[in-house]
């Protein structure tokens, strides 16, 4: 029973050491920009421009806290972040941000109640889902789907261990509804890759996208993707674009006649 080394001086030294101690790990070949530890978490909190949050949070280049690695790994606590936010003058941003923190608590509450049942459908799906495959297609895992926007999200996820909330939603929706992969398969895959991987927030969000923990499936179209993520995406070919439809057309293509979507569908917001 030999303890592991604690006198490693640099992030590169830690990375090399981890690779020798855990040889089964796939070598990422790069360091994540998210440095572990409470100190780094508190620093990030101090630099987070909370006042911009409500207006920008849905945009991939907008102001979000990127605190999830620190919150999920417990380096900083939900309660201290909430108290920090409430020191600011009341505003829509403060309220919005605190309500997002509450999402985390809500998911934990459900997990506390349900235990490992959250790994299965919590409700019947609202759209046909019996044909969905339970292995992840290789092109998704490798980030070689041929759709540059989705490949960009997959690359970001693998290179950094983090993704913006809206990118997680797009990617989950693409995998479950456009590619017909079972949500659990996608959820396990993303959980493994995220530094903030948390079975409650992750698997319940996938169920929310799939419609087994919500009233309807989450889908997006080209217009929505361009509006919120356009600035960070390389641009997709317009020929055979799977996303370039109205929501009514998309629902018809993806779910057939069994499903009528609500007419308005907002971005990035859970209901």
């Amino acid at each position: 029973m030999q303890p592991l080394r604690t006198n490693l001086e640099s992030r590169n030294a830690i990375a090399d050491y981890i690779q020798t101690e855990f040889p089964f790990l796939e070598n990422t070949g790069c360091l994540s920009p998210h440095v572990g530890g409470r100190k780094a978490g508190l620093e990030r909190l101090q630099h987070f421009p909370l006042e911009k949050y409500a207006r920008q949070r849905n945009f991939l280049d907008g102001a979000v806290s990127q605190l999830s690695p620190y919150l999920s790994r417990g380096c900083i606590t939900l309660e201290e972040v909430r108290q920090w936010a409430l020191q600011h003058q009341a505003s829509h941003s403060v309220e919005k941000f605190v309500s997002e923190l509450a999402w985390r608590a809500f998911f934990h509450l459900v997990y506390q109640d349900e235990g490992d049942r959250i790994l299965q459908d919590l409700e019947p799906p609202k759209v046909p889902m019996r044909q969905h495959q339970t292995t992840l297609p290789d092109d998704i895992d490798r980030g070689e789907t041929g759709i540059p926007s989705m490949d960009t999200f997959i690359r970001m996820l693998k290179e950094t261990g983090y993704l913006h909330n809206h990118a997680r939603m797009y990617l989950a929706s693409y995998i479950v509804h456009f590619r017909q992969v079972h949500w659990r398969t996608g959820a396990d895959w993303m959980y493994a890759l995220l530094i903030d991987g948390d079975l409650a927030s992750n698997h319940l969000s996938w169920q929310w996208v799939a419609s087994t923990f919500s009233h309807k499936p989450y889908i997006f179209n080209r217009e929505n993707l361009e509006r919120y993520a356009g600035s960070v995406l390389p641009g997709d070919p317009r020929k055979d674009d799977p996303f370039n439809y109205s929501y009514e057309e998309l629902a018809d293509r993806l779910f057939g006649n069994d499903y009528t979507p609500a007419s308005s569908r907002a971005s990035g917001n859970y209901r």
Binding site: M1, Q2, P3, L4, T6, L8, R11, I14, I18, F22, F24, L25, E26, N27, T28, L31, H34, V35, G36, G37, R38, K39, P69, R73, G74, C75, L78, E79, R82, Q83, L86, A90, E95, V98, S99, L101, A102, W103, A105, F106, H108, L109, V110, Y111, Q112, G115, L122, T160, G161, Y191, A192, L193, L194, I195, G197, D198, L199, F213, Y270, R271
Partner: protein
């Protein structure tokens, strides 16, 4: 009673009250190999955890199977108590459950502004009920 502080991956906080409450207890973290392999946990997550652990003074980091390893450590330190943090994670909860056969387990709960036991199934309902509490310092 001699105690061990056992950190889990959802509670890597060097400033946690349990560290102050048990200032002389050995501090332990275990990378559970079967869990890492079964769930194919990525290198970035492991590196983040490692970096977080290095901020905890005198941390002892091990890898292996959590429960048998902790049993060995209990014996080695002649300890009868394990101090840790609560998490909803069912895998960690199962380890905590098993360890209760071998030691007195003290688990510090996570602090929330409200404790709801009504099992709300939609966030809108939860928020509607509790927004005031959440928005009050």
């Amino acid at each position: 009673m001699t105690a061990l502080i056992w950190f889990n991956e959802d509670g890597l906080n060097p400033a946690h009250p349990m560290v102050q409450d048990y200032p002389t207890a050995p501090r332990i973290y275990i990378f559970d190999r079967p869990y890492l392999q079964q769930w194919q946990i990525s290198k970035h997550r492991i590196q983040f955890i490692y970096e977080s652990l290095l901020e905890i003074a005198d941390i002892q980091i091990y890898q292996g199977n959590t429960v048998p390893l902790l049993r060995q450590l209990l014996e080695q330190h002649q300890a009868t108590e394990i101090v840790t943090t609560e998490t909803p994670n069912h895998i960690i909860k199962a380890w905590q459950h098993d360890l209760q056969s071998y030691a007195n387990l003290v688990a510090y709960p996570e602090v929330y502004p409200v404790n709801d036991h009504s099992s709300p199934r939609r966030f809108s309902r939860y928020w509607h009920q509790h927004d005031r509490a959440w928005l009050t310092p």
